[in-house]
């Protein structure tokens, strides 16, 4: 945790510096007749962020924050495993949206989570994976008239059937 605290502050300092640099693409000072330049607000806020990062590093050096006094690992093996399996599952879910549609991705993700990670039975996992996207389809597309991504053309036959029901 101790090293992690400093690395995080360092990363945020770099981010602050980058934001200051990007903000400076627009004027950051006061322009007579037009007021503060377009970059002034984000530039000076990023500068305050940079100062805060130095302050956090100073507190780390003095050992006043709980993280700076801790010898624990940021994530143990279980933490990394759950982050990879759950976080990776979410990334996979979002990546699948443009391929098999939002509803297809929901079905795959729910099945993966409940059956593989949650160790639920096949019947329950399959039911959830099939019923939830269909219910969400009728809510969003039918009731709310909000169209979700329908993926690649091979999903069209399924959507044609569903759209025939709601229109």
């Amino acid at each position: 945790m101790r090293v992690g605290e400093l690395v995080t502050a360092g990363f945020l300092a770099l981010l602050s510096f980058y934001l200051m640099w990007k903000s400076a693409e627009l004027p950051i000072g006061y322009i007579s007749g037009t007021g503060p330049g377009g970059g002034a607000w984000p530039f000076w806020l990023s500068a305050i962020m940079l100062i805060c990062c130095s302050w956090i590093a100073y507190n780390w050096w003095r050992g006043t924050s709980p993280a700076s006094q801790s010898d624990e690992a940021v994530l143990d093996s279980h933490g990394w495993r759950s982050l990879i399996f759950v976080g990776g599952g979410i990334i996979g879910f979002v990546a699948l949206v443009n391929i098999i549609s939002m509803y297809g991705a929901i079905a795959v993700f729910l099945f993966y989570y409940t059956w593989y990670l949650g160790r639920h039975g096949l019947a329950l996992s399959l039911s959830l994976a099939l019923i939830t996207p269909v219910a969400l389809f009728f809510f969003f597309e039918g009731a709310m008239r909000i169209t979700m991504p329908s993926g690649m053309p091979f999903t069209d036959p399924v959507f044609n059937i569903l759209y025939d029901i709601i229109y």
């Binding site: 990007k22 503060p36 805060c52 994530l75 949206v97 993700f109 409940t114 008239r145 991504p149």
Partner: protein
């Protein structure tokens, strides 16, 4: 007396069978739309606006106002049960509503939200009825310096939200404000902070993208890590007796927050361009500040649920005031209502109270009836919402992830925002590990787009002289109070350190 008789007529009008039916349907639909992450009153009102052309204008506006009311009540449901603020107005409800639900007190949180919303709505209705014209003129006297001073006051209350780690809190606020500045410069129209020159950033970063990322994805990852996936499912039970006991407890422990939220929310709500979100956030901050047990906030304080819920309902009524009396919408939802009124041939403004007396008082009367209907319908549905929490965690968790992604997409309609949301979620998970308070960043991204233009307009008015924030009669005192609140934690910290130093 004249006002009371007009109000009585208005109430009778809204109790006519068609109008009453409209209220019941509107509140129920609004409740469920508001409870869905990513959807809020603005979606409900916008989507159902065409439906209103089937009924007379009076019934139509009553229907839309009932949806607005229902959605305000519903916003608390996803904040409490899922930990995802469905709309910006319900962000502050998450801070204490979710911990209460985790501790098996979801019913108390939901009942508190319902009762506080009802009281907030009732107080606002009374203030609206009695002082509409006077308050409209007060709201008009708020120029850019006054609005910026008010935003500064809101940020000052955030510093208190972040706990003792002042640099991390300030960093969080500034980060949220900078994220709110991504996209286009509102005044010159020039592209600004297009990060890594990626065009997706041109449309800016919406509040919901950060809020769902932090609270929907980040919070769940953190819970899974902390509990090692072995979350003890809470088994809250809901009985009539239990609900009565919760109502009693809500009244006893949440009265202070309810009162602060009711009055502060209304006042902030009537200001054009402010709306219910700043009202609920400020009410939370002020209630925490004046509380005898501020350390309980964020861990499941009843006042922490009551204050924002009373405020967002009160403010939603308040935001109708500038719309009806001046023709200026106070929130996106009232902007759509305003559009609807114009379509129906009504002209909002000072003449509306004279030319369309029956319409106006029918609408005001419907606020009272909608408020009662919303309370009853909300209480009736609480067992359904509670039932969601009884699901095993390994089913609830993927459902929350799915609702976060779907709700996020429904709000933004852009896959780039969904990737950003996932990124914010994973980032929030690590930042939380190192005790960075994330609530201030979420709050700042909401208020940033109001604060920046008002600051720039104020400085333009004064030719760059910042004393404009101190010399104006309304802005001055607000700015001074805000600065005191900003420096108060630092002074307290210094005093504490000084008292620890041996003589």
């Amino acid at each position: 007396m004249d006002v009371l008789s007009l109000l009585g007529d208005g109430m009778l009008l809204s109790l006519q069978p068609l109008n009453l039916l409209m209220i019941m349907i509107g509140v129920t639909v609004g409740l469920f739309i508001g409870a869905m992450p990513g959807l809020g009153s603005v979606n409900g009102v916008a989507i159902l606006l065409p439906v209103t052309f089937l009924v007379p204008p009076g019934s139509a506006i009553i229907f839309l106002a009932a949806i607005y009311y229902g959605a305000m009540y519903g916003g608390a449901v996803s904040s409490i049960t899922l930990g995802i603020p469905g709309a910006s107005t319900a962000v502050a409800t998450t801070f204490d509503g979710r911990p209460l639900a985790r501790n098996g007190r979801a019913s108390l949180a939901l009942v508190t939200a319902a009762v506080a919303s009802f009281i907030g709505g009732t107080v606002a209705n009374a203030l609206f009825t009695l002082f509409a014209p006077i308050l409209a003129s007060v709201a008009l006297s708020f120029g850019p310096p006054e609005v910026f001073a008010l935003m500064l006051l809101a940020f000052a209350t955030f510093v208190g939200l972040g706990g003792d780690d002042i640099p991390k809190t300030i960093l969080s606020i500034c980060f949220g404000l900078v994220l709110g500045a991504v996209g286009f410069d509102q005044i010159s129209g020039a592209p600004r902070l297009v990060l890594f020159d990626y065009n997706g950033f041109l449309q800016g970063i919406g509040f919901l993208v950060l809020a769902i990322g932090v609270y929907g994805i980040g919070e769940m990852l953190w819970t899974i890590d902390q509990t090692r996936g072995d979350v003890t499912a809470t088994t809250p039970k809901m009985t009539a007796k239990g609900m009565a006991a919760d109502t009693k407890e809500a009244a006893k422990k949440g009265w202070r927050g309810t009162m602060i939220g009711s009055f502060l929310g209304f006042f902030v709500g009537i200001l054009p361009a402010a709306g219910a979100t700043p009202g609920s956030l400020m009410s939370y901050g002020v209630t925490k500040m004046v509380s005898r047990k501020p350390e309980e906030f964020g861990k499941g304080a009843v006042d922490g649920v009551a204050a924002p819920e009373a405020a967002n309902n009160s403010a939603s009524t308040g935001s109708m005031l500038p719309m009806l009396t001046l023709g200026i919408p106070g929130s996106p939802t009232t902007a759509i209502l305003l559009g609807g009124m114009v379509i129906w041939g009504l002209t909002p403004g000072p003449r509306l109270f004279v030319d369309e007396e029956q319409f106006v008082w029918g609408l005001i009367g419907s606020f009272y009836i909608s408020n009662v209907a919303a309370l009853l319908i909300n209480l009736a549905f609480i067992p359904v919402f509670i039932w969601m929490l009884r699901m095993p965690f390994t089913i609830l968790a993927p459902m929350i992830f799915v609702l976060s992604i779907v709700g996020g997409y429904a709000a933004t309609r852009d896959m780039f925002d969904i990737w950003l949301m996932v990124g914010f979620g994973i980032g929030a998970f690590f930042l939380r590990k190192f005790d960075y308070p994330l609530a201030p960043a979420v709050l700042a991204i909401v208020l940033g787009p109001i604060a920046e233009p008002t600051l720039r307009q104020s400085l333009l008015l004064s030719s760059g002289d910042p004393s404009i924030f101190f010399t104006r009669p309304i802005a001055g005192p607000i700015t001074v109070v805000a600065l005191i609140l900003i420096f108060l934690p630092a002074l307290k910290l210094l005093r504490r350190k000084h008292s620890k130093t041996p003589a």
